[in-house]
């Protein structure tokens, strides 16, 4: 009997020892999907036959002594902006519902090469921006902790499916917080790696200079395992970094004593006020880091609204340019949330965009200076627990400054980590940020925090 919930690391240990068969594991997840996804809507397309075929192949390979590593035989889901050879990749949109790519995205190929089993394509906000929407060809994903609640977005199906244990990990993308938001609301660990670490080739773009691909999973360790598989230079992506990839998992478990953490409280206490439960949970998390021997000090940066304005003024025209043709010719084939956000985006001028890029340079320099004597920055990932799914305003991304987009502007690695629960049992999170290409320290700190606190033990009751 396969346990209801397993982390990637736990399953990998069992698979390597041949105490768990990839076929059994995949079958147990397919049963779970059939039983639970009707109320979660996390999958757009389940690839049951393909997953069983790949699981049988993995089992035979492992039995033959060819164990590939900790992703071998692990069932994962792909946000439906990751292209898959011969399988529709829709962006959760009518506009691309018949789009069947000829090849896998580069990061998908890497995951398959590492032995991962693709279980299906997951719900997303339309083209990673418009949602939660109720007027698309598929319904929005719902939060497993309370199905009346929002998953966060845009990697909504990934957040829901991983939290519900339908898959052990999944892919997301993050242009302004689309990995960290669902990770926060669904109680997962989700890292937006350094810009350029994971190839964007074959991933439907939202905004070229802000788009980051990355994993969502139950723990920091699982994120390290997935990141290891996904990261690597790809000449086909002009922004792909050509530098050695460290062993992320090896960095875990090392002492975090002496790490210097700057706590940016004004982001969530003044600039985008978090509720009492979130503030208390982050304060307790900062104390937990101090208890681990880290040095936590207050850090003041430019107002959050400045970072958000810079990010939005870059995201909007880049996204508009990508969709310009279809917006002109098929406007109402897009969902209302996406198309109206794009109509507003069309009003951003060329001068606005260049001013935003000039501001970006200033803000990148500002964070680099601020982190010269720090290893990490800590702040909120979201101002509250997950709100009701029907309460998200159309222009929410402009109404309150995003707590996450600052680190898309800077390209820094940033991760959501669960740090508690509300009285009603909804997860709370904080965000931890590192220097560019020091993703390993982010993962190491997140893992140390998870090991020192009890929050990872609780799973949603479905």
């Amino acid at each position: 009997m396969v346990p209801e919930y397993l982390t990637i690391a736990e399953a990998a240990r069992l698979i390597e020892k041949r105490e768990l068969s990839p076929v059994e594991l995949v079958d147990s997840r397919l049963d779970r999907i059939a039983r639970l996804d009707g109320k979660l809507n996390s999958f757009i397309r389940v690839l049951g036959d393909e997953a069983r075929r790949d699981a049988r192949a993995a089992e035979a390979e492992i039995a033959g002594g060819k164990y590939r590593g900790p992703m071998h035989g692990i069932p994962i889901g792909l946000k439906d902006i990751y292209e898959t050879a011969g399988v529709a990749t829709t962006g959760h949109s009518k506009v691309m519902q018949d789009h069947v790519p000829k090849a896998d995205a580069y990061s998908v190929k890497r995951l398959r090469d590492a032995g991962a089993i693709v279980m299906g394509k997951l719900a997303t906000h339309e083209f990673a921006l418009g949602g939660p929407s109720f007027d698309l060809p598929w319904p929005p994903a719902r939060n497993p902790w309370d199905v009346s609640r929002f998953t966060g977005g845009s990697s909504s199906g990934t957040g829901a499916s991983v939290a519900a244990g339908l898959v052990l990990g999944g892919t997301g993308s993050d242009t302004g917080g689309s990995i960290r938001g669902p990770a926060a609301y669904c109680g997962l660990a989700g890292i937006k790696p350094t810009y350029g670490l994971i190839s964007r080739m074959g991933i439907l773009p939202l905004a070229f200079s802000l788009d980051h691909a990355g994993p969502l999973a139950w723990t920091a360790e699982d994120n390290a395992i997935m990141l290891q598989a996904m990261a690597g230079h790809d000449p086909a992506d002009p922004a792909s970094a050509n530098r050695p990839i460290p062993d992320y998992r090896a960095a875990l478990g090392r002492d975090v004593k002496g790490l210097r953490i700057g706590l940016v409280r004004h982001f969530y206490e003044r600039d985008n006020e978090a509720n009492t439960a979130t503030r208390a949970a982050i304060a307790a998390a900062a104390q937990a880091f101090e208890g681990l021997g880290c040095r936590v000090s207050e850090l003041t940066l430019s107002p959050l609204a400045d970072w958000a304005a810079c990010g939005m003024a870059i995201m909007q025209p880049e996204a508009y340019a990508i969709h310009e043709h279809h917006l002109r010719t098929r406007f109402t084939d897009y969902g209302e949330m996406f198309r109206d956000r794009m109509a507003l985006a069309g009003l951003v001028t060329g001068a606005d965009y260049v001013q935003a890029l000039r501001r970006r340079r200033e803000l990148v320099d500002e964070l680099d200076r601020a982190m010269a004597d720090l290893d990490l920055v800590m702040t909120a990932a979201a101002p509250t627990e997950a709100p009701p799914i029907d309460s998200v305003p159309k222009f929410a991304i402009l109404e309150r400054p995003s707590l996450t987009i600052a680190f898309n502007v800077t390209g820094s690695p940033a991760m959501s980590v669960r740090c508690g629960f509300t009285d009603t049992g909804l997860p709370l999170s904080f965000q931890i940020v590192g220097k560019r290409f020091d993703d390993a320290t982010v993962l190491r700190a997140a893992d140390a925090y998870e090991q020192a606190t009890p929050w990872r033990a609780r799973r949603p009751q479905l």
């Binding site: 939005m312 003024a313 109402t332 109509a343 507003l344 069309g346 009003l347 606005d352 260049v354 340079r361």
Partner: protein, 60 residues
């Protein structure tokens, strides 16, 4: 931006936005104007201040 100016701008963009949605977009314009204002420091920016460049040249 007035509603008339919005209608003209949407026409220039070639977007056929349903009437009801135009009202909601018009109501959100102050949010966009705040973004536009925040990008520009009072008194202007040093004329030589360069934008960030995503694509780097290969090292020599």
């Amino acid at each position: 931006m007035t509603r008339q100016e919005l209608d003209a701008a949407l026409a220039r963009l070639g977007l056929k936005v349903p009437e009801k949605e135009r009202d909601e977009i018009a109501a959100a314009i102050p949010l966009l104007e705040d973004v536009q204002k925040r990008l520009r420091p009072p008194g202007g920016r040093n004329v030589a201040a360069e934008p960030s460049h995503v694509v780097r040249f290969p090292e020599a």
